[in-house]
């Protein structure tokens, strides 16, 4: 009934007021965080002494799947209290390696050592019992349960061995969350909390079960920049307590900022280690991709033509019926990229869905090439040459159980040559699919496999390949590079610029301000459902845009 198995000595005994290292630091979090942020040069001598022996070692791990070698003799060692970044492209084998460590997959070869002893990890519960915790990119939380219920799920505190003792669990969770400096109410319903808080609950869940090695799979992919810097502080503090952290990412700047050491994986192999003090984004990108990568979008000046898309005084409601786009007006011309910037949740998503016929327009007009297309169906817009890369790829962009091939024709299946007189031509679909798979470098052993077998970045490439290969007038790209690696980002950015140069109007929405700044010719800023400013990208300053995004105005309010 003990939440932490007694044979696992760990400072984070929940609810234990004993003076462990964590409570010492919790009493003085600023200093601990500041030490770490300053470069981590001042290290607790106890940790320094232990740092020589790795807390965790993976030796010559290999894992093969039909048609791919996902992991090819990978070595990885994690020291106590270190933040170790695992860097690699989508599909490089990072997630496979971590799934092996977490007991979700068993390796074909190789061994895992914990504190110097060889261990066999055959299931996640095995991993948890050995002090390994994992926070998945897609959280595994029950939205209708409270924070406490989620944290104790599968590890419940019982009263009289019959009833759940939620009160006692809540007390322990409250204590633990205070030690960590989290402000989390154990009684709150998880579904009501923000993504950033949900992630902390996942971390709390792992620590509650006594994790001393914490795996974070692309933890920042779903976070706002503000939430990202907050979670970094938390990770620093945890590492300061001696928790080892494996940080999986493909975001170079973040890896450089947070990691103590970096291991780079490419196509299933370790290509090298990097020291964040000396490495640069360029050098890491090159290691990761295997060639020189341009991190700056290379594009000439735009030569815009006539207006292709005109949005007039558009008002759109969200699913609950509240107005989230309130009278937005703008135009996108042929041969230009119009970027929509804004903090997530200011109406961009609904605006784009309304333009693409997926959401009803309450009032206002959408005009495409002189035709009023307000509230037209997605099919008729697609026929007019509108391509849409949806922001939520797994919800809108893909049918995950379908073969990759079918997903590559999802918006064109009813056209010749993919079908004639309503009968599908599988050969034509396969042919198109193999062309796109090689052209867009979609990493898969076969186009006949379900799209669910692809990594996130390759799923995104499927959508991009499909939408870019059609005859276009207008391209609407919502978060076109969310969750994908630098090599693919570079590729997709080039494709977008090439579409612009071919005279196509591009409407770009991105939560990454840098992406909007680098790609766009003009930038519109959304704030509380209104387009509060339209700026020329060549003269716009990042700080100004950030300020308008945050306040809706270019000047600091008095």
């Amino acid at each position: 009934m003990a939440e932490v198995p007694p044979n696992l000595p760990h400072p984070n005994q929940p609810g234990e007021p004993a003076p462990g290292p964590i409570s010492a630091a919790a009493g003085n979090p600023e200093t601990a965080a500041a030490d770490q942020a300053a470069g981590g040069t001042t290290v607790d001598p106890a940790i320094a002494a232990r740092a020589t022996a790795p807390a965790l070692e993976m030796r010559a791990i290999s894992k093969r799947f039909p048609g791919v070698v996902a992991n090819d003799h990978i070595d990885l060692s994690i020291r106590p209290g270190e933040i170790h970044a695992l860097l690699g492209e989508n599909g490089a084998g990072k997630s496979t390696l971590m799934n092996i460590l977490y007991g979700l997959l068993s390796p074909d070869e190789g061994e895992i050592l914990l504190d110097g002893a060889v261990v066999e990890i055959s299931s996640p519960s095995d991993a948890i019992a050995r002090g390994i915790g994992m926070v998945h990119q897609h959280f595994k939380l029950v939205p209708v349960f409270s924070v406490a219920e989620n944290i104790v799920l599968g590890n419940e505190t019982m009263a009289n061995a019959v009833f759940l003792d939620v009160r006692r669990s809540e007390g322990r969770i409250r204590a633990l969350s205070q030690q960590l400096g989290f402000e989390i109410d154990p009684e709150a319903m998880v579904g009501d909390l923000s993504v950033g808080i949900q992630q902390r609950i996942e971390i709390l869940k792992a620590l509650y079960r006594g994790a001393k090695v914490l795996i974070l799979d692309e933890p920042t992919a779903v976070l706002t920049p503000q939430e990202t810097s907050e979670i970094f502080l938390v990770l620093r503090r945890l590492a300061g307590e001696g928790t080892s952290i494996v940080f999986i990412s493909h975001k170079l700047n973040e890896v450089l900022e947070i990691a103590d050491r970096i291991t780079v994986i490419r196509r299933g192999r370790v290509v090298g280690q990097a020291d964040p003090k000396t490495a640069t984004e360029e050098s890491l990108a090159e290691m990761m991709v295997g060639r020189e990568v341009s991190l700056v979008v290379d594009k000439g000046p735009a030569s815009p033509g006539e207006a292709v898309l005109t949005v007039e005084d558009l008002t759109v409601a969200d699913d609950r019926g509240s107005i989230v786009v309130a009278g937005a007006s703008f135009g996108v011309r042929a041969g230009e990229i119009f970027g929509l910037a804004g903090v997530a949740g200011n109406g961009q998503e609904e605006l784009v869905e309304a333009i693409n016929g997926l959401r009803k327009v309450t009032s206002g007009r959408v005009v495409l090439g002189g035709h009023d297309v307000t509230n037209d169906s997605s099919r008729s817009l697609s026929e007019r040459g509108v391509a849409y890369i949806p922001g939520d790829r797994q919800r809108f962009g893909l049918v995950l159980p379908y073969p990759i091939e079918d997903n590559l024709v999802l918006t064109e299946y009813y056209h010749a040559p993919f079908s004639r007189f309503g009968v599908i031509n599988e050969r034509a679909i396969s042919k198109r699919a193999s062309e796109l798979i090689s052209q867009y470098d979609i990493r898969t052993p076969s186009g006949g496999l379900p799209a669910s077998t692809l990594s996130g970045g390759n799923q995104q490439k499927v959508i991009v390949a499909r939408e870019f290969s059609r005859d276009l007038v207008l391209l609407v790209a919502d978060q076109p590079t969310r969750g994908i690696d630098v090599g693919s980002i570079e590729f997709i950015h080039r494709q977008i610029v090439a579409k612009r140069d071919a005279g196509i109007a591009v409407l770009l929405v991105s939560a990454e301000l840098d992406e909007v700044l680098e790609l766009s010719d003009r930038i519109g800023i959304m704030y509380r459902g209104q387009l509060v400013a339209i700026l020329d990208a060549s003269t716009a300053e990042k700080e100004t845009i950030g300020l308008i995004m945050a306040t809706g105005r270019a000047e600091v309010p008095a």
């Binding site: 799947f65 039909p66 791919v68 996902a70 599909g91 997630s95 496979t96 971590m98 799934n99 979700l104 998945h136 990119q137 897609h138 959280f139 595994k140 939380l141 029950v142 939205p143 998880v190 579904g191 993504v195 949900q198 799979d217 692309e218 779903v222 693409n356 997926l358 169906s377 997605s378 099919r379 008729s380 697609s382 849409y388 949806p390 797994q394 919800r395 809108f396 962009g397 893909l398 049918v399 995950l400 159980p401 379908y402 079918d406 999802l410 918006t411 299946y413 079908s419 309503g422 009968v423 599908i424 052993p445 799209a451 669910s452 077998t453 692809l454 990594s455 996130g456 799923q459 969750g483």
Partner: protein, 383 residues
């Protein structure tokens, strides 16, 4: 966001579509085969137990062998037995196809029974009034039966698409409505005045499905069922309409994004599912009963759910499952006559098989070969 963020996969639709996703056809066949074997083994234990507590009160470990042998003999021993088996399987093929077709679009058609009754009734009425020579009258009656079933499927489809009423609730209610309404009609307006028990008049000879194997009762319904199976398979897997139906079932949001019309597909799918069930009633009336009896109590629609599950909602799988059920149904009587094993044991065997199919994870634990394989990234696995 948490996984519940996908409103397209809410409620019972999850159940309907998760039944389809179980990896490759080969693996599904393995799992189903093991489920059948386990069902028969547990049935064997029950047969031994039935010997102990039954009239003979004897412990006879060979009883299952004798029982299953008698069952097989009764179902497959000779042309008459095979004819009975095929006749038993025929309506199940239709209702199985009906339920499977709905599953593909993410719809749980519990209403196959009502649709079958309405289809059968329409065929019976048209069959008594169209005085054409054989193939023509039968074709008209069959079309009428299909249309009747389609109407009974259209109603829940439209209620779902336009008003958001869940098809499980509406189809269950429509089953009762169909049964009681047709009772009333068959014992009043459409009653055969000369008959002792209330029923509709016998259909005219031009509408009766002919016997296709001499000296047996095997009627042409099985041929219609097999042809329909092929049509359904082609429609689902080789046409753009089938692509749309399956896309709506797999991810309604993506279907909308791709320019499909989920509401239209829902109505169409339910109507076609209704037509399939209606055809099942039609061949049963035109081939076996020749009239629609009041209090026409049949279970084909509900057995169709079982058949669709066992057949993994694939048309060919449905035929296999319906034939298996046909064997069990047709052989159960012979088994009881030969060995005193109660017929109900066979219902239990069927139920156990279904249980193992539904809970395939149990089988995957037992047999590593049945486990899903493939490079699965956590982001994809979470979806």
């Amino acid at each position: 966001m948490t996984e519940s963020a996908n409103p397209g996969a809410a409620g019972l639709n999850v159940d309907a579509t998760t039944l389809l996703g179980g990896g490759s056809l080969g693996r599904q066949a393995i799992v189903t085969g093991i489920a059948i074997v386990l069902g028969l083994l547990i049935g064997a234990v029950l047969i031994v137990l039935s010997g102990v507590i039954g009239p003979a009160q004897s412990f006879d470990p060979t009883l299952p062998i004798a029982g299953y042998a008698a069952l097989l003999e009764g179902a497959l021993g000779g042309p008459k037995a095979i004819a009975n088996t095929l006749n038993s399987a025929t309506p199940l093929i239709f209702t199985g196809l009906s339920v499977a077709f709905g599953f593909r679009a993410g719809l749980f058609n519990i209403g196959a029974n009502g649709q079958l009754l309405v289809g059968g009734f329409c065929a019976a009425i048209v069959g008594t009034s169209v005085a054409l020579p054989f193939p023509l009258a039968a074709i008209v009656a069959i079309l009428a039966g299909g249309l009747g079933g389609a109407l009974w499927g259209f109603i829940p489809g439209a209620l779902k698409a336009w008003r958001g009423a869940h098809e499980v609730v509406t189809t269950i209610m429509l089953n009762s409505i169909a049964f009681l309404l047709l009772n009333l009609l068959a014992s009043s307006i459409f009653k055969d005045q000369g008959a002792t028990f209330p029923r509709t008049p016998d259909v005219l000879p031009g509408s009766v499905l002919p016997i296709i194997l001499v000296n047996t009762r095997l009627h042409a319904g099985i041929l219609i069922a097999l042809a329909t199976t092929f049509v359904v398979w082609f429609l689902l897997f080789k046409t753009t309409l089938g692509f749309e139906i399956r896309t709506v079932g797999a991810n309604a949001s993506a279907a909308r994004y791709a320019g499909m019309r989920p509401a239209f597909i829902t109505i169409l799918t339910m109507s076609l599912a209704g037509a399939l069930a209606g055809l099942g009633g039609t061949v049963e009336i035109l081939g076996i009963t020749k009239n629609y009896p009041a209090e026409y109590i049949v279970n084909f629609g509900f057995d169709g759910i079982a058949v669709a599950l066992l057949g993994r909602a694939h048309p060919f799988g449905v035929v296999g499952a319906a034939l298996l059920f046909g064997v069990m149904r047709a052989g159960a009587g012979a088994m009881q006559r030969a060995t005193d094993i109660p017929v109900d044991i066979i219902s239990i065997v069927q139920a156990v098989i279904l249980l193992f199919v539904a809970a395939q994870i149990i089988i995957q634990q037992l047999l590593p070969a049945a486990r899903p394989k493939g490079p699965v990234e956590p982001s994809a696995a979470a979806a």
